[in-house]
Amino acid sequence: MKILTCPMNGPRNIDEFQSFGPMREAPDPEVASDADWARYLFQAENQPGVVVEWWRHVPSNYFFLAERDIVTNRVLRTFDPGEAE
């Protein structure tokens, strides 16, 4: 069983969570070109190494961020989006 530590609910089985993939910068709709939108929609961080990604604790519907190494599967930290620098 792999454990993910939810900033609100504490350590839980990773089964209780849903991954929403790497965080992406939303384009400014006032100035974004088609290429910017395509990038935002279809392109995600996938380089071997650490990514910052969205997760949801399904039973409590709480969304948070995690820093995880997508090669070793080590979670370096999880935090509330309000704490994001």
Partner: protein, 413 residues
């Protein structure tokens, strides 16, 4: 002829030459450098050398030939997709499998036993009607069958009448089948090698040298090589390898797992998959039951297997065939798959002039080994992308022309 056999056994020429030559020294340059020695790269090399007279070809493989996803897949071959572009493409793939053993003079054990996909709800059944209509329109063998039809095709299946997962019908695809995965790769490799293609194992591409709009050279752990054209066919490593050439692909990597049981007496005569259970089964010629399902739930570059997936696949398999509950598993494994947003591959041109893509094969690319190899060879040889490949261009994402095959891919690859 025991005497002939004895003479052969004692002759100096015994044993016969192996199918694959040992890795030669690298030459300074090749007309075509293929990065990745999986089924796709090898098939492309074969078609280049056999049909386009291009024999100065190097296939660079960082490990051993076809040890990537080609070695790990569950060998479902089918064309029951949903978009007209997808069906037309995979249909050609199935047709090439029908001819493959003869084409390669190598028995690839193609077994066209048909695929049965199960519906446990009316909604799924409706989507099956759509797929059947599309498939029939494009000349593939596909039909919706009722519960009687399902029972006739898979008599030992647990129908769960009145239960939560009651089977309400199925999608029967008579063109579906399987083939021996390493025979496919070895057949292409040996025929390509016979025509002068060089197979370089343990040769990893580390970087590309850009010269203006082109790739000038490929840098490997065994030295630098010049190149006319370059093809990327690196399976789960397509994203990082393309990035080395400055091309960012819309790909995310997920593990895909499968497992296999001890051999049993033949009981399952076609491929069975369930959309709701995310489980599919096929019995091999040796009698083992291969069980596969959906991808892992989050992004990862790893070939580790998990207990979660073992439990999930076992639950699905035992639900469909309850007598499997006492059967032992012998192996579980995983491959790293390169998933695209629309569950369709990325083939054709890249933003770099002489760099071609055969990527985004995710969980569904084994069945496309011959057609992708053939059509990418044609693309590289002529410098033009044939009509059948055009819809799969990388540029489709920029113009929002996606080819959504998610519904026809998720449960059965």
């Amino acid at each position: 002829m025991p005497l002939r056999l004895l003479k052969y056994g004692l002759s100096r020429r015994y044993p016969v030459r192996g199918d694959l030559p040992p890795t030669p020294d690298l030459r300074p340059a090749y007309d075509v450098v293929i990065v990745g020695g999986g089924g796709h790269g090898l098939a492309c090399a074969y078609y280049l050398s056999r049909y386009h007279g291009i024999r100065s070809v190097a296939v660079l493989e960082k490990g051993w030939l076809a040890g990537g996803n080609t070695a790990r897949n569950t060998t479902t071959i089918r064309s029951n997709y949903i978009t007209p572009e997808g069906i037309a493409f995979y249909r050609e793939g199935v047709q090439l499998f029908e001819e493959m053993s003869r084409e390669l003079d190598f028995n690839v054990m193609f077994s066209q036993r048909g695929q049965l996909t199960l519906a446990h709800s009316e909604a799924t059944l409706r989507s099956f009607h759509l797929r059947a209509e599309m498939g029939r329109h494009l000349g593939t063998r596909i039909e919706v069958v009722d519960t009687k039809g399902v029972e006739a095709l898979a008599p030992l299946l647990h129908m769960d009448y009145g239960g939560a997962l009651e089977i309400v019908g199925g999608l029967w695809h008579a063109d579906g089948g399987t083939a021996r995965h390493d025979a496919v790769a070895w057949g292409y490799a040996s025929q390509a090698a016979r025509r002068g293609v060089e197979l370089h194992q343990r040769t990893e591409v580390l970087a590309f040298e850009r010269v203006g709009e082109r790739i000038g050279a490929v840098l490997t752990n065994r030295g630098r090589i010049g190149c006319g054209n370059v093809l990327i066919a690196c399976g789960g490593m397509n994203y990082p390898v393309a990035l080395k050439a400055g091309v960012e692909l819309p790909i995310r990597n997920f593990p895909l797992q499968a497992m296999v049981t001890q051999p049993l007496k033949p009981f399952l005569h076609n491929l069975v998959s369930s959309v709701s259970l995310h489980t599919y089964l096929v019995q091999t010629d040796r009698g083992e039951v291969v069980i596969g399902g959906g991808s892992d739930p989050y992004q990862l570059y790893s070939t580790r297997s998990t207990l979660d997936m073992k439990e999930h696949l076992a639950a699905g398999a035992v639900h469909l065939f309850p007598f499997l509950k006492s059967v032992q598993l012998t192996r579980q494994w995983a491959g790293i798959t390169d998933m695209t947003p629309d569950y369709s591959p990325i083939m054709g041109a890249s933003p770099v002039e002489n760099l071609w893509l055969d990527c985004g094969w995710g969980t569904w690319g084994f069945k496309a080994t011959p057609v992708a190899g053939k059509r990418m060879a044609e693309t590289i040889a002529t410098g033009r992308v044939p009509a059948i490949l055009k819809p799969f261009a990388l540029a489709r994402f920029g113009s929002f022309r996606l080819l959504n095959e998610m519904g026809a891919t998720a449960a059965s690859h």
